[in-house]
Symmetry: C2
Subunit: 393 residues, 2 copies
């Protein structure tokens, strides 16, 4: 994979458990057009508060990210720590602090060990000559069981470009306008307003369409940097190249989002929830999210129990307009219920077979209008409890 | 416990597993003033649809309830089954069908076995001479591990009356204007409009202030019947007797609601969430419910992990107005965080000690205004997963 003009570095800064890389740096040799979406929580981590200010310029040239400490609920010292971190990197790279994005993930409420960051920064800067994007994907993992990466290439004006992305996140996943950590880099040249629009749309259909446990984090950040180093003619909205870029970006983000769900804490199932026939798309998404976040539905998935009644119950409390006599539901192509009642026949046995698969689709039709939504989720398992009851110990 | 003019009966109708009572009848010798609140879900079980029509009269004289089958998502046949059930009881008791309330709880989407109900009704009617309210509390259990009952007595005009209640529910508990099944009976004479008002207010502070898993059922029903057989002068609003009745009713409902949380599926902890300093009471409740329904918070309770950061994260995504620099949080009397940051000192160790208790209080102050709320919840445990992954098998 060749992404022109980006350098990578990771080090052990002893923020996480010993023996694991926990501080990472992405550097673009030239300023990149950049867009980011952040958590909509009112309790925002210090790096989110700082990075959202920095990104207002529309540019970024470096990103420093640590795992092991969220730098959230850390007050003024937390903000100062985030600031100092961007300054250290800016000084080392000879750029403005405003061109540096900073992200953190880990435990909330513990002061950032700035002495360790300070000690680690020189090695981090030196490492830029030899690092890879893979290293970064590894270094940002917390409860993740595998690193999450995706790359696609495109062409504009006969010149190839690459869109590559990494992500972390396994629990506390219920994004809303923003999500866990995901960083997308591309060497394509893209018109800034179009980049913003394309990115936001792609986030909506990917990171904002997944849920593991319904919890949204204080640190969720999704960032794209486009440095134009591939030398392609600038991609603009509405052009064939623009449409192709939309597709490539969508594919990268959707792949990363699905990887997060597949790595959902303790997950044994990957479930696609498709809702149709809603009053509008927003109501369809509301229904899909209610299903995807229902503890009873998720434990039924884990138990491989074709309990469609629990899904109808979630539809009922979603708040969307529903006429229960019009509801229908399928597991893959097995119709479990129609006109609000059990489909009968061998539906129970066939539906149970579907739920034994590792991946399946639940389709719910509300039968009212044409609103649709797709959401991806996992099951709720013993392992989720174990991971989260013991996370800090 | 003496509740004048009420008779009780239970039988085995083979709706549930063999050997368990699953059909129950409460009968008042005279028509009783009655008020009920039902699930706000748009997917309502047939008995909810029928009973909400019947109760519009303001009167009820009998209540028939079955466990083992929810008669939800059963379409027109389900409605006919509920109707026939009330007619069978009405005929047997010599009253109007409209005076009969019908409730169901159990699996969703399975047709009601009306042949078994028909066969069981004669024995049910005959049993009225010998049954007790305890029997009813037993018969309505599903995943409950103990029957839930409470009784208090009051006085009006020198005459004693009793308020007694039973409830069932352990999972699918996140009421909203209504809740699982709970039946309150009293022999007090109460002015009907006052009864309605007193009851709704008591439901709001009890059943609408608890959550186990955030799921609301298709069948939630809470009903009060007041038959006036104690012979007291009618209790009215604003009188000392009215205030005393409010207190008695509140105590009965709150006790039942707390019993439901304590019996929360797999629960090992009973947690009181107190939120203060919110913009208003509604926002305080929103915050309390976000905390109480967070899977990450609930698993931390189970893990006895004083992870106050997860609680702040839930506060942040609750949607309520929050200034994170004003947030404070305590476990019992141990201040864990103040002005949005960790309280320091030995808070971590002392907070962990609190979380080792079976019951404790989490207090969150938003520091903005004077809105308050109290919500009761349980932890999220391995046992919850086991119960719900295997419920139907």
């Amino acid at each position: 994979m060749d992404i022109k003009g980006f350098l990578f570095s990771t080090v052990e800064a002893a923020i996480k458990k010993p023996g694991r890389k926990d501080l990472a740096l992405i550097f673009s040799e030239v300023p990149a057009n950049a867009v980011a979406v952040f958590t909509t929580s009112t309790v925002k981590a210090a790096p989110v508060l700082l990075s959202s200010k920095h990104i207002a310029s529309g540019f970024a040239q470096a990103l420093i990210v640590n795992s092991g400490n969220a730098n959230a609920c850390t007050g003024e010292p937390g903000l100062l720590a985030a600031q100092e971190t961007t300054q250290l990197i800016a000084r080392g790279l000879g750029i403005e602090a405003e061109a540096v994005q900073v992200c953190s993930t880990g435990v909330i409420g513990v002061p950032m060990p700035m002495d360790r960051i300070r000690s680690a920064v020189p090695a981090l800067l030196n490492g830029l000559t030899s690092g890879t994007l893979d290293d970064i994907a590894q270094a940002i993992m917390t409860t993740d069981t595998f690193p999450k990466m995706e790359a696609r290439s495109g062409q504009a004006g006969g010149i190839s470009y690459t869109v590559a992305g990494i992500a972390k996140g396994a629990g506390m996943i219920m994004p809303n306008m923003a999500t866990m950590l995901s960083f997308i880099i591309t060497d394509a040249a893209i018109e800034p307003t179009f980049l913003q629009q394309s990115f936001r749309q792609a986030v909506d259909c990917s990171f904002n369409a997944i849920t593991v446990d319904g919890d949204m984090s204080t640190n969720d950040t999704c960032l794209v940097m486009a440095n134009g180093m591939s030398g392609n003619p600038t991609i603009t909205e509405g052009s064939p190249e623009g449409n192709a870029f939309n597709t490539v970006l969508n594919e990268v983000l959707l792949s990363l989002a699905k990887q997060i769900v597949k790595d959902g804490e303790g997950a044994t199932k990957f479930v696609e929830i498709r809702v149709s026939g809603a009053r509008n798309n927003a109501e369809a998404k509301r229904v899909a999210m209610a299903i995807a976040n229902s503890s009873l539905v998720k434990t039924a998935f884990f138990g491989q129990d074709a309990n469609w009644g629990r899904i109808f119950a979630a539809v009922g409390y979603s708040g969307a307009e529903v006429d229960q006599s019009l509801l229908s539901l399928s597991f893959n192509d097995v119709c479990m219920a129609k006109n609000g009642v059990f489909a009968g026949g061998d539906a129970e046995a066939r539906g149970t077979e579907v739920l034994k698969e590792k991946e399946f689709t639940v389709s719910v039709d509300l039968g009212i209008a044409t609103g649709t939504a797709v959401v991806y989720t996992s099951d709720l398992t013993h392992e989720y409890i174990s991971i989260n009851a013991d996370y800090r110990s």
